[in-house]
Amino acid sequence: EAGVAQSPRYKIIEKRQSVAFWCNPISGHATLYWYQQILGQGPKLLIQFQNNGVVDDSQLPKDRFSAERLKGVDSTLKIQPAKLEDSAVYLCASSPWTGGTDTQYFGPGTRLTVL
């Protein structure tokens, strides 16, 4: 079974530029998550999708971050414009929907450096 795929693996941009990350979850997983992991901290949930609908985006900085999952499969996370403090690893995870608490499977992440 293929795992969660993310691209690119690394990205370096200047502040105020825009950037996009892509995630393809495990086939059949209805729930998709984006996390931000700043160096020295644990992952923080940014947004959670159930199929193509948003379940929770309370910690997503909506003035600069956006995410979509149009067909309920893969997803993109965008930052526009980027700030220095956005430097982090962005992790995508997916889980099946069983109606309860499900195991989340994580991708390798995209390491973003904002200069």
Binding site: G42, P43, L45, Q48, G100, T101, F106, G107, G109
Partner: protein, 113 residues
């Protein structure tokens, strides 16, 4: 505020020695609890989870964890550490039973030969 605390940022153990990584949570009820491991350049891999029932949980790679309600703790243990266990370990809690994980800051494990 709901939180997960891992008091140890770094731990170094000798290969073959026993290991215990600490995790405490702050929440009114008992959350669902998880331990994940992250190797460099890799995503997080689930080691074990606790939802209810037996408070001693067995996981993969020889790890186990014990839930102690009185101490609000969920410590991870391994009787004999291997060099390949060197990685960062994260404790996480789902405090709303809705797949919304709150992670601790992680503990970096170093294994010396």
């Amino acid at each position: 505020a709901q939180s997960v605390t891992q008091p140890d940022i770094h731990i170094t153990v000798s290969e073959g020695a026993s290991l215990e990584l600490r995790c405490n949570y702050s929440y009114g009820a008992t959350p669902y609890l998880f331990w994940y491991v992250q190797s460099p350049g890799q995503g997080l891999q689930l080691l074990l989870k606790y939802f209810s029932g037996d408070t001693l949980v067995q996981g993969i790679k020889g790890f186990e964890a014990e839930f102690k309600r009185s101490q609000s703790s969920f410590n991870l243990r391994k009787p004999s550490v291997h060099w390949s266990d060197a990685a960062e370990y994260f404790c996480a809690a789902d405090m709303e039973y809705g797949n919304k994980l709150v992670f601790g800051a992680g503990t970096i494990l170093r294994v010396k030969s």
